[in-house]
C-alpha cells in the first residue's frame, strides 16, 4: 500500500460551513455570494490540483471544468449536508477524467509532432517531472506509468518499449495506476 505524504496544507474544513451557506444563497439566486463562492473554490481547486497532481497544463483546464461542473450541479447540493463530500466527488471525477483524456490528447499530438520524439526520449523521467503529492504517493511502477503516458506524453507502445514490457501490460499498469489515484483521492476527501 502506498503511503500518503504528510500534508501541510490549510485546513479546508474551516471553510466548509461558509461554502455551504454561500451555495445555499446561490441556489436562491444571490449572484454576489455565488461569485464569492466560485472565487474561493477556484483558488482552492487550483491549489489542490497543483499540490496533488502537479502543475501541468491540463490541471488549469481541469480546474475550470470543475467550476463549470459545480455550476451545472448546484441544484444537487443539499444545504443540510456537508459541502466537502459533494465538492470532492466532482473534483475527483473531473481530475480522473482529465488524466484519462490527457493520454488520448498526448497520443494524438504525438502523431503530429514526430520532431519532439528525440527530446522526449532523452528526457530523464525523475528530473523532468515534478509531480504532485498524489502521484508521488503511487507505487514506483504506477508512478512511472502515469508519468510516461499521461504527463510526458508517450504513447502506450512507446512507454511499454521504454519499460521493456508488453503494450497490454502497460495498459493494465496505467489502468491500475488510475484506480490507485482514485482511491487515494477518495481516502483523502473523506
Amino acid at each position: 500500500m502506498e503511503c500518503m505524504p504528510g500534508t501541510d496544507e490549510p485546513d479546508y474544513s474551516a471553510d466548509e460551513a461558509r461554502w455551504s451557506l454561500l451555495m445555499a444563497s446561490a441556489q436562491a439566486g444571490n449572484e454576489a455570494d455565488y461569485r464569492q463562492l466560485l472565487t474561493e473554490l477556484s483558488d482552492m481547486v487550483s491549489r489542490y490540483l497543483m499540490s496533488r497532481l502537479g502543475g501541468y497544463d491540463f490541471t488549469d483546464d481541469c480546474a475550470q471544468e470543475i467550476l463549470i461542473a459545480v455550476h451545472e450541479a448546484r441544484h444537487t447540493y443539499d444545504p443540510r449536508r456537508k459541502f466537502r463530500p459533494w465538492l470532492f466527488a466532482i473534483i475527483r471525477h473531473k481530475s480522473i477524467d482529465a488524466i484519462r483524456r490527457q493520454q488520448a490528447r498526448k497520443e494524438n499530438e504525438a502523431r503530429h509532432a514526430l520532431d519532439s520524439d528525440t527530446g522526449r526520449a532523452n528526457a530523464n523521467l525523475d528530473e523532468s517531472v515534478t509531480s504532485g503529492q498524489l502521484i508521488n504517493a503511487l507505487s514506483p511502477r504506477h508512478r512511472e506509468a502515469i508519468k510516461l503516458t499521461k504527463i510526458l506524453g508517450f504513447t502506450t507502445a512507446e512507454a511499454a518499449a521504454r519499460l521493456a514490457i508488453s503494450e497490454s501490460a502497460m495498459k493494465v499498469r496505467v489502468h491500475r495506476a488510475i484506480a490507485s489515484l482514485r482511491k487515494l483521492m477518495e481516502a483523502e476527501a473523506l
Binding site: 445555499a24 436562491a28 477556484s42 444537487t76 443539499d78 466527488a89 466532482i90 471525477h93
Partner: protein, 218 residues
C-alpha cells in the same frame, strides 16, 4: 480555455435560482418506486390472471411473507441507491454495502429455496411468458429513472443507469412472486435473471442515446 476570472463572471452572470433537488431525493425515489409498482401491477393484471390464492399464501406462510418483505425492502433501498448515485457524493460506500447486502439477502432465499422452499413448489398460476413480461415491464420504469437521474448530475451515468435498471428490473421480478407460479428454480431463471438483465440493457440503451447524440445532424 478562458481565464478563471472571466469564467467566474460568466457563471455568476448565468446564475438562476434553483430548487435543491437533493432534499427531496428520498421522497422522489419512493414516488418513482410507487408509480412503477402500480404500473407493473396494472400491466401484469391486464396481461393475465394472478396466481390463485397468492395473497392468502402471504398470510398463511410466514417464510413466504418474509421472502416478499425482504424483496420490498431491497427494492426500496435499491431505488434510493439508484437516485443517490446521480448526485455527487450522494452514494456512500455504506449505502452500496447496505443495498448490495439486502439484495443479496433477498436473492439468496431462492437458492436456499431449492433445498427448503418457502412454499410447496407448484405449476399453479404459471404465466406462459413471465420472463418476457418481466423484461418488458421493467423497461419503462428504467427509462423513467434514467431520465430523472439526468435531471440530477450523474458523474458516472452508466453506473447510475445500471443501478436504475436493476431497481426497475426487480420490481416485476418481485411481483411475479404472486403473479406467476412458485418454484425457486423457475423464479431464479425466469423472473430474477430477466430482471437483472435490465441492469445491463439500461446502460446499453443510454450508450445508444449518447452515440445518437454524437452523430452529426442533417
Amino acid at each position: 480555455m478562458t481565464k478563471p476570472g472571466s469564467l467566474i463572471d460568466q457563471l455568476a452572470g448565468d446564475l438562476q435560482p434553483v430548487k435543491p433537488v437533493a432534499r427531496r431525493l428520498g421522497a422522489g425515489a419512493l414516488l418513482w418506486l410507487g408509480l412503477s409498482a402500480i404500473y407493473v401491477m396494472l400491466a401484469t393484471a391486464l396481461m393475465g390472471p394472478l396466481r390463485p390464492g397468492a395473497f392468502d399464501q402471504l398470510l398463511a406462510h410466514p417464510r413466504f411473507l418474509l421472502e416478499c418483505s425482504l424483496g420490498v425492502l431491497a427494492l426500496v433501498i435499491l431505488a434510493q441507491a439508484a437516485f443517490r448515485s446521480a448526485v455527487p457524493g450522494g452514494l456512500s460506500r455504506r449505502w452500496v454495502f447496505i443495498a448490495a447486502g439486502l439484495t443479496l439477502a433477498w436473492l439468496l432465499n431462492y437458492p436456499f429455496g431449492l433445498i427448503s422452499p418457502a412454499l410447496e413448489p407448484s405449476m399453479l398460476g404459471k404465466r406462459p411468458h413471465c420472463y418476457l413480461e418481466t423484461l418488458i415491464l421493467a423497461l419503462p420504469p428504467a427509462m423513467a429513472a434514467v431520465y430523472w437521474q439526468h435531471r440530477l448530475f450523474p458523474l458516472r451515468p452508466l453506473q447510475s443507469a445500471a443501478a436504475a435498471g436493476l431497481a426497475a428490473g426487480m420490481i416485476p421480478a418481485l411481483y411475479m412472486q404472486v403473479a406467476c407460479m412458485y418454484a425457486p428454480g423457475h423464479i431464479l431463471m425466469w423472473h430474477i435473471l430477466p430482471g437483472a438483465l435490465v441492469a445491463i440493457l439500461t446502460p446499453l440503451a443510454l450508450l445508444g442515446v449518447f452515440w445518437c447524440k454524437q452523430q452529426p445532424t442533417g
